[in-house]
């Protein structure tokens, strides 16, 4: 009989599917196949099995080659650069467990670091908007069971969150939505004809960067006031129709993504999208939800929240927690030469940050803790490979609707490999020695 582990959590995106089945070899040591996962999720499990995986820390030498070092040496080096720095940046945290994040925060508190997560280049603007105007939201299951109007604004789940539509938003048959996709009207607002847009009942193909105007126009239309003939490239009749479609729903859910958070207007786009949701609550029931990317970026915001009171961009360098995105955000700090060491865990700024920031990282004492070889590990002085969270070690993760789910260990990591939490605990011990605590 096949050796199958069920109810496995997928450590890839914020959809955090928890219904995977993983088939193991008879001795339980190898992953053979992954069921129910999307292509990306399955690949994450399968490539952990790669024969040529890096299993020990590697230090970059002056001639550009790398030299294998022990985890002890790696922890000492990491502690040393953090302790010697006046203002170290500790970035990432989105592809790891809450347990590891928590240990990382103890390190940051001891060395006076800045803790920032991937929201800084993703949904950080959403977090700022929530601080301005709040957010009426719900869990994904609430939307599945009730929502008959589904809006995707500036997001493309068909590619970015591949199982979102089948598990939660469009196709499932919920309690009050027994006919599945036939119970729902889907509206996509995107300048591109995305694969998600191809499934929509209504696609408002607005002009790029004009989201604010269109959202504002919807608020005008809800109130039955006059609109110009065309707003954001959309004829007014279409806007009135869309407004009526939303108002006539029993439960409206708006999902939004990077198309609005990182385009012109940034947090102001989200402010007014939340305004649209608040308005709809005067006529019917409505909720809005950011499509969070990394599988535990939400968890990083939660742990930072309960430990320091802020969801990202947390500067602990003055002995108290400060928060001021624009000042305490990773790219601003790097570009202004304000940080003197860089520590990366659970993210790949080498791939996602502007090249000017990546150059700065390459010039500083730096360490990247990541199971993979990435553009970040290529520029950092030290690469510490660790076990895959959600594959080789369990831990708590938060879904895009802030719902906590405990990820599962499926197989052992290669012999002698540490988890990121274990490595961080070694670093913390070294830091305490160095600080004389």
């Amino acid at each position: 009989m096949a050796n199958i582990v069920s109810d496995v959590i997928c450590p890839f995106c914020g959809t955090l599917c928890d219904d995977l089945e993983v088939e193991l070899s008879d001795d339980g040591k190898k992953i053979l196949e992954v069921y129910h996962a999307c292509a990306i999720g399955a690949e994450k499990f399968l490539h952990s099995q790669a024969e040529d995986r890096i299993t020990r820390p590697r230090m970059m030498q002056e001639d550009g080659t790398t030299k294998e070092v022990s985890y002890e040496e790696a922890a000492k080096y990491t502690a040393k650069i953090l302790c010697e720095a006046k203002k170290p940046l500790m970035y990432g945290w989105s592809s790891t467990s809450c347990e590891a994040q928590s240990v990382g925060h103890s390190v940051a508190e001891a060395v006076g670091g800045i803790v920032d997560n991937t929201a800084t280049v993703c949904h950080g603007s959403s977090l700022i908007a929530v601080q301005d105007v709040g957010i009426p939201s719900c869990t994904l299951g609430e939307a599945m069971n009730r929502a008959d109007r589904v809006v995707f604004w500036g997001c493309n789940p068909a590619h970015a969150h591949p199982r979102h539509m089948s598990r939660y938003s469009v196709y499932p048959r919920g309690f009050f939505t027994g006919k599945g996709s036939k119970s729902r009207k889907v509206v996509v607002i995107d300048p591109r004809k995305t694969d998600t847009a191809s499934l929509a009942d209504v696609h408002l193909q607005l002009e790029q960067g004009r989201d604010y105007e269109l959202l504002s126009a919807l608020r005008v239309a809800f109130r039955g006031e006059k609109l110009p003939d065309v707003v954001a490239g959309i004829p007014k009749d279409q806007i009135y129709e869309a407004a009526d479609l939303l108002k006539s729903g029993r439960f409206v859910i708006i999902y939004f993504g990077m198309g609005v958070t990182q385009s012109l207007g940034k947090n102001h786009n989200i402010d007014i999208a939340i305004g649209v949701t608040r308005d709809l609550n005067d006529y019917t029931k409505a909720a809005i939800m950011p499509m969070r990317g990394h599988y535990n970026v939400t968890g990083s915001g939660e742990v930072l929240g309960w430990q320091y009171g802020f969801p990202f961009c947390v500067d602990l360098s003055r002995g108290i927690a400060r928060y001021n995105p624009g000042e305490t955000s990773s790219n601003d700090l790097l570009m202004r030469d304000e940080v003197d060491a860089v520590f990366v865990l659970g993210s790949d700024p080498g791939a996602h940050f502007p090249i000017s920031s990546v150059k700065k990282i390459s010039e500083l004492p730096s360490v990247a803790i990541d199971p993979h070889l990435t553009p970040t590990t290529a520029v950092c002085k030290l690469h510490v490979p660790v076990a895959f969270v959600g594959v080789e070690v369990g831990g708590c993760c938060y879904r895009m609707d802030n719902v906590p789910i405990e990820s599962r260990k499926v197989v052992d990591p290669p012999e002698g490999m540490l988890t990121d939490q274990e490595f961080l605990e070694m670093v913390l011990a070294e830091v305490r020695k160095c600080k004389g605590v």
Binding site: E109, V130, Q131, L140, R146, R167, K285, G305, W306
Partner: protein
């Protein structure tokens, strides 16, 4: 473990009937004992007040909505000094929604050693437990919410009492919960469609059951399961003028039911933050106090307890599983509004709120809380809370004590109000000269709460054999005359012991203690019907699988204190 002798303090312990007598209190092996050896460390408490550690029956200190409050209010961190870490302390900040570290430290500073998290959405139980685990010093438990849960609504609608109880027992076990909480019964489910239930007879959309049936059914389930605490209700129609009638309708549902348990609990219904439910008038214009009606009724019913939810006249953050109320509140004050509806279970909302002494409605709310406490006949059944942070932060308890213990302090507050006359006219407070004693305060803050929680065998008194939770305050009840001294002393304990360990030494926190999480494991008869219903709902309507729903102890509840109950028949 070290032995301690707390010598010559003025001891207040309503359970033992000690009212300010000079006594020595001995601690050994984590417990209060009759006597200790000569080598015991002596704490000189001469001229100081000694009480058992405080027990808070209702505060929102951990979990998803608390964290929404923290993360969406960066400005809250500016309302109090952010304190750097020092010694055993981590850095800590926030005012109305403090970080978990600050929550632990500030409760310890007030001499509190046990705090109950008042509303845990079962679906987010892991989050609540992660925060409680990170909160130092204090023992904690959490109340999962049941008043809008689909299983409960369906079983009660069908009159299936045994199934209701079996499901509740299962959920308490899955979520590591401590008691049955019921918030705006039916109203939050109605909020799933943007609606509400504002009286006990408003039917819940689709489920076609009334709030009265839910409340009564949950009280009965609670007694069936013989839980330590009673059903803990936040009734319908919170915060609205004229709502005292809904409150009385809710309280009356407990008539004729008596408590069944082995924990010394006598009440079958605990009504929380009753101040918010004691309003007269028909609009905000003729808003007035009905504290008299509510206090009269509670005084007359021995099987009811309540906590008050004192308004402290601060800028704060309101948060509740009463989703429709928070929407209503943001329509009133136009501040930011967060809302989370939770599949099959509950909902919640968070809105900042400024209780201004210059707004007469806020002044009346302030007065109503104090009125109720001063009309109380048995303070074992009226408890100190601010429904933290809804009516004010818990850090204001010492200030509330000052108001309760000093008519002069109350008059000073009145005098600072822009609408003093209106507030005096519409409430009974200005005619009251009663001043509570420390003996009564000890009932409201530890003895009464411990008993109502079914924890009087552990907390709330200095009886030998109980947990070594003792607070020493730098307050001399014989010589103190300035009411301000009350607020100062009870906000900064001189010494604190938790389970016999010295936590605060001479005003400094020296240990993070050994915090425990309290939860209830009730055994019921095997019930295949309920097992089948649970499996079905997880297959079809939940978005997390049944196997991934349970809160496992290893990570979330590393130091549990489990109450085992056998409710099989």
């Amino acid at each position: 473990m070290a032995e301690y002798l707390i010598k010559n303090g003025f001891v207040f312990d309503p359970v033992l009937g000690i009212n300010g007598d000079k006594k020595d209190i001995a601690i050994k092996d984590g417990k209060i004992v009759e006597s200790v050896g000569a080598s015991a460390k002596v704490i000189d408490a001469a001229g100081k007040t000694v009480m058992a550690g405080g027990v808070d029956i209702h505060a929102h200190v951990a979990g998803p909505k608390v964290n929404v409050g923290r993360n969406f209010r960066p400005e809250d961190k500016r309302q109090a000094t952010y304190e750097p870490g020092k010694g055993v302390k981590r850095m800590s900040g926030g005012f109305s929604v403090p970080t978990v570290f600050k929550t632990g430290y500030k409760y310890a500073d007030m001499g509190y050693t046990t705090v109950m998290e008042a509303a845990m959405p079962p679906f987010y139980a892991k989050h609540t437990h992660e925060e409680m685990r990170d909160t130092p010093i204090i023992d904690q438990g959490a109340y999962p919410v049941f008043g809008n849960n689909w299983f409960v609504l369906e079983y009660l609608k069908n009159g299936e009492a045994e199934n209701t109880a079996a499901y509740i027992a299962w959920l308490l076990r899955m979520t590591k919960g401590f008691a049955i909480k019921c918030v705006n019964p039916g109203g939050t489910e109605a909020w799933g469609w943007g609606l509400n239930c504002t009286s006990v007879h408003d039917p819940v959309p689709y489920f076609d059951i009334t709030p009265a049936e839910i409340v009564k059914g949950l009280i009965e389930a609670n007694e069936y399961l013989r839980l330590p605490h009673s059903m803990h209700v936040h009734s319908n129609n919170l915060g609205n003028p004229g709502n005292y009638e809904t409150t009385l309708d809710t309280l009356k549902l407990a008539e004729g039911i008596s408590a069944k348990n082995n924990f010394g609990r006598e009440q079958v219904l605990h009504h929380t933050h009753i101040q918010f439910h004691s309003y007269g008038g028909t609009t905000w214009g003729d808003f007035e106090s009905r504290a008299d009606k509510i206090a009269d009724y509670v005084n007359s019913q021995k099987n009811i307890t309540c906590d008050i939810g004192f308004v402290t006249l601060d800028e704060t953050t309101t948060m509740t599983a009463d989703g429709p109320f928070e929407h209503h509140l943001c329509e009133l004050n136009h501040l930011k509004w967060a809302n989370v509806d939770v599949e099959l279970e509950t909902g919640s909302g968070v809105v900042p709120y400024v209780y201004s002494p210059d707004v007469f409605v806020c002044g009346i709310q302030w007065a109503i809380g104090l009125e109720i406490a001063l009309l109380a006949k048995d303070h074992m059944r009226y408890h100190m809370t601010t429904d933290h942070p809804n009516a004010g932060p818990f850090t204001r308890y010492p200030r509330v004590m000052k108001w309760l213990m000093s008519a002069k302090a109350r008059d000073e507050m009145f005098a600072g109000m822009k609408n003093e006359d209106k507030v005096r006219d519409r409430t009974g407070l200005s005619t009251m000269d009663r001043e509570l004693s420390l003996y009564e305060i000890a009932m409201m803050t530890r003895a009464g709460t411990a008993k109502a929680l079914g924890l009087s065998h552990m907390y709330g008194s200095l009886t030998p054999g109980l947990c070594g939770d003792v607070a020493v305050y730098d307050y001399n009840p014989e010589t103190a005359s300035d009411p301000e001294a009350i607020e100062t002393a009870f906000g900064k304990a001189a010494f604190l012991f938790k389970q016999g360990e010295l936590i605060i030494n001479d005003g400094e926190i020296v240990s993070n203690g050994n915090k425990r999480t309290l939860w209830v494991n009730v055994k019921t008869n095997e019930n295949t019907q309920v097992e089948r219903d649970i499996a079905l709902k997880f297959n079809k309507f939940y978005t997390v699988s049944q196997k991934n729903y349970e809160v496992y102890a290893h990570h979330y509840v590393p130091n549990p204190l489990v109450f085992e109950i056998d409710a099989t028949v």
